[in-house]
Structures are given as C-alpha cells and as structure tokens.
Amino acid sequence: MKIEERTYTKADHLRPTGYIMKSMKVTFKVLWRCTKNRPNTILYPWEKLVYPDNYRGRPGIILDKCIGCARCVNVCPNQCIEMVSIETPELGKVKRPQINVARCMMCGNCAEICPTNAMLVTPEFELASYNRADMMYDPIKLQHPHKPGYEVNYEFALSSELKAGTAKTYAKNDPNMHDTIVLDGVKCISCARCAKTCPTGAIEMVETGELNPKNKKPIKRPKFENTKCVVCEQCVEVCPKSALSIKEVL
C-alpha cells in the first residue's frame, strides 16, 4: 500500500505573524471604526431598531371589519383568543375576539387566517405591565389603526393542480376557491340553527318542494352561497344532528 505524500502548509493563525500581528490589526480596525463612527450597540430604551413593515408584534383588530367568525379562536396555537360579547353604539351587542397578550406568541396566525383582514399584526412589542389583568386585551383595547402592510396576505396553490401541472395561484380569501360545506340531507331536521348562526348570512333555508308527511308543512333545507361563505365552521359545530361537514379543496 502506498501512502500518499502530502505537504502541509501552516495555517495563518498558527504563525506568530498571523497569531499576533494579524489579530492586532483586525482589532485595531474595529476600534478605529467604532471610535470614528459609532458602535454596533443600539441603546435600546432611547433608540429603537427600525422594524420591517411586516413585523409581527401583538395582534390588533379593526372592529368595523370583524364579522365575529371566530376563526382566529380556532387557529390560535396558544389558545389565548376568546370570543367575548361587547356592546357598542355602532355594532350593538356582538361577540368579538379578546386576546390574552401575556400568552400570545406573536405568530400572527390569527391575522393570516382572518377572512376579512380585520385582524392585523402591529409592530407593538413593548407589552410589559404590572399585573396580569392589564395583559387581557379586550376587543376595544385591541383596536389598532390600520396601515398597509399590517394585514397578512398570502397566495396559495392547490396541490392537485400542482400535480396536474396546471398550477394557478389564488389570493388569500378568494371567494371561489375555498372549502365548502356539504349537507347530508338524510340527517337534516330543518332546525335552521345553521342559518341563524352564520355570521355572513351565506345560509338560506330553502323549500325543497316536499311536504312533511306528519304535519303537511313544506320541508326546508339549508342552501349555501359559496361566495359569501368564509368557512368558519360554526354551522358545522352548531348542527345538532351532525348533518353538515367540510369538503376540503385539495
């Protein structure tokens, strides 16, 4: 077996000139630079970093846009969002999200999933307070003025279309491209709770033309208007006979 002969050159940092002279040169350059200009440190309470436009701080809300669909409540990984009822002159008595900021991890998922872009990600991050009650941001306190860039928008493509090679991108909240609610007609008892609970009024009770054999009244079934639906799944949850289900777009 032949052993390959190799010549090793000494690394620069092992030579005395590299170990002593080069390092001293480098450090002196840094000294000169930060004495002439300024050091890298930001003096935080007095100076602040310039935050990017899409900085994800605490969530904020625009109450006029919110429809109370509670999608943010479902998506929140820390379960810090809760729907509470508030009463305002403009809106009346409604349910709107309240956020426990102490538990919030600023992921911005609530703003990402919001169908009306009512939930924003604000650049506020200095949220310390002296008691925990102050960290509960009720819908009124949660409000934040809107600026372009605060809402989270994204585009998506369907995996089935990607596989087929005809990929198209859809904007967030594309009214024609989202999951749909499917009714299992056999189970439905025509209680109309889904229509009452729908926050967008996308469900309408429509007569099917048949008559109930017992009391001779027309049977009504819910009809879904897909362009209005925001897939909040409240109708699915509220259905007493589990007649509704979600059909995903894949």
Partner: protein
C-alpha cells in the same frame, strides 16, 4: 525642593498644634505631658508619613479605578459595542460594582483552612498596596525614595505567587488549586526575564533608584530606544506577570471558573479583582519608568501628568493585546518564558553591557 512630604509637614504641624492647644485648654493636669509629646519631632514625622501614605494610596486607587474604566470602555470599542453606561461615560460603574460587592456576605467554605484562607487574601492585597508606595509619580510626588526602590518593588511583586498558591490550597477546591499552581509556575517562569531586563537597565543607568534612572534618561536618551529588545521582552513578561489575557491562566474563566479566587466572595474578592488592575498599573509604571523616560517631557504641564499619560498609553497596549489574543496553554507560556524571553533578555543584557563598555552614553 518642595515635595509632598514637606508640603504636608506644615499641615500636620498645624494639626498637631491645634490638638495640643485643645488638650491644654481642658486644663487637665495629667494631660499636660501629652500636649508636649504631640509637638515632638517623631510624632510629627509619623503623622506626616501617614498623611502622605493615605493621600498617595487614594490617588493611586483612583488611578486603578480609571484603569478598570479604561479597559471596559476600550474593550467595548474593540468588540464593536459600548462599554459601561452608568454615570458620566460609564465611570460610575466601578463604584456601583464596589457597593454591590461590599454588601455581599462573607462566606468561608466549611472544609477550607480558615486561617490561611483569610491570610492569603490579605497577603496579596497588602503587597499590592505596598507596591504603590514604591513607584514615585514625579520627583515631588512620592512616598519613599530609597536607593534600592526598583529591587524593593520587584521583591514585593514576586510575593504574589506565594499568596496565590496559599489561597488556592486553602480553599480546598480543585479549580482554585489548579489555578494557584498555574499562577505559581507562570509567575516564576516570567520573573527571570523581567529581572534580567531590569539588570540591563541598571547596567545602563548605574542605579536602582527610580529618581536616578529617570534623571539619567532625561540627560541621555529614553532607554526604550537602545534597549528596544528589552522593552519588548519586558512588555510581554509584564502582561504575564499581571495575569492578563494571553497569559491569564491563573484565572482562566472558561475552564477554571474564576481560577484561584473561586471560593472568595464579598469585598475581598472585589479588592482582589481591583488589585489585578493595581498590579497592571505597577507593571505599566515600571515600563514607563525604565524605558519611556518616566516623567520626562516638555515642561508645560506637570511631571505627574506626563508620567500618568505614558502609563495610560502602555495600558492601552495591554488592553489592545487583550482584545486581540486568545489564551495560550500552560506549556506554551513556560516555553515562551524560558526558551524565548530568557534568551532575548540575555541578548538585551549583552547589548546594554556593550553600549556601556563602548561608552556610547
């Protein structure tokens, strides 16, 4: 010449006179002897010496604080950050640290050798403070001026490995023991080149007194120029003797916790940390005194200012080295000390002897 001592002599004479007058004023018969005794020569000398020592100690401790402050600020700039921020340009951080350290509890480990544990810290502190007295700031501002001042200073300085070893041993902790051993080995290895370089300076100037060394340099030339090799050797060895970064094995925070001081707490630890800088000051002062002309300089400001500013420049070099270098191994330090610095020191001594025999200066 008007020195610190003669200036303070008048003050202490007046002070003792006031006390003697107060004692007389009480008209207590048994105290009349005391008033007379207060105005005798030995009491006056003792009080004046005490005053001089206290003023000098306070001055140089403030200098030590300035050194710590300077290191913190400069090290910050070397690392692209701001140093301390408390007070005016961060100067009061030292006082804040001092107050914090004073408020700490004094803890002696149960298994430690209590007597030696307490003694070691006082030994190193006492030697550090004694060193202050050996270094004059100018022909006017000094505590002692003996013929063998240089030798005395180095003798006191080399007491450090002894107390460090005792402290490391008495703490009954493996980190402190290893730190103490390393300190002893390193300090002894670097002591020899330092003494040889000092010998070359003595050969050139023909005196061990700082006053004579500086006045010789004022008449002839700053010794750093003919004995450049000696200057470099002394600087490297001085960084090692002051236990600063490329040679900070006795402390070695990353591997030995806090080195031989691991078990020490409260104000004793604080003073030991400060005494590191006091010792660094002594080393800078020795470099200034022996190679950079001491207080030699144009007359438009005080000699003390010249001396201290030169010390600061040397200490800036120390800080620069600290920012640039990484710690080297024990065997590398010993190799450097015995096989590189020692021959350099001998060469430097030969140069000094050659210059002296050729009667260049």
């Amino acid at each position: 010449m008007e020195t610190l001592y003669t200036v303070l002599q008048g003050l202490s004479e007046w002070l003792l006179g006031v006390i003697a007058w107060l004692v007389d004023w009480t008209r207590l018969g048994f105290l009349s002897g005391l008033a007379d005794w207060l105005e005798t020569e030995p009491v006056l000398t003792a009080v004046t010496t005490l005053l001089v020592a206290v003023i000098y100690l306070i001055t140089l401790m403030m200098m030590g604080l300035c050194f710590i402050w300077m290191e913190r600020k400069f090290l910050g700039r070397f690392m692209d950050r701001r140093g301390t921020q408390v007070g005016v340009l961060g100067f009061f951080q030292n006082f804040a640290d001092g107050i914090k350290v004073v408020l700490k509890e004094h803890i002696v480990p149960k298994a430690a050798d209590r007597g030696l544990f307490e003694f070691a810290i006082f030994a190193i502190l006492a030697t550090s403070f004694m060193l202050f007295g050996c270094i004059p700031l100018s022909p006017q501002f000094y505590v002692i001026n003996v013929d063998l001042a240089l030798l005395l200073g180095l003798a006191i300085f080399s007491f450090a490995p002894f107390s460090i070893l005792i402290g490391g041993w008495a703490s009954n902790n493996k980190f402190t023991l290893i730190g103490g051993m390393r300190a002893a080995a390193q300090l002894i290895a670097l002591e020899i080149p330092i003494l040889l370089v000092v010998v070359s300076v003595v050969v050139m100037t023909g005196s061990l007194s700082f006053m004579d060394i500086v006045s010789w340099q004022q008449e002839n030339i700053w010794l750093g120029i003919p004995l450049f090799i000696g200057l470099i050797t002394f600087l490297i060895a001085a960084i090692g003797e002051a236990e600063r970064v490329p040679f900070d094995l006795p402390e070695a925070e990353a591997e030995l916790v806090e080195g031989w001081q691991t078990e020490y707490g409260d104000v004793r630890w604080g003073l030991v940390m400060a005494s590191d800088y006091f010792r660094a000051y002594i080393m800078c002062a020795l470099v200034t005194m022996m190679f950079l002309g001491g207080w030699d300089g144009p007359d438009f400001i005080w000699a003390e200012i010249w001396f201290l500013s030169k010390t600061f420049i040397v200490f800036f070099f120390f800080v620069w080295v600290r920012a640039a270098m990484v710690r080297i191994r024990t065997d590398q330090i010993l190799t450097l000390g015995w096989r590189r610095l020692l021959p350099l020191a001998v060469v430097n001594l030969l140069i000094a002897i050659a210059l002296k025999t050729a009667e260049v200066f």
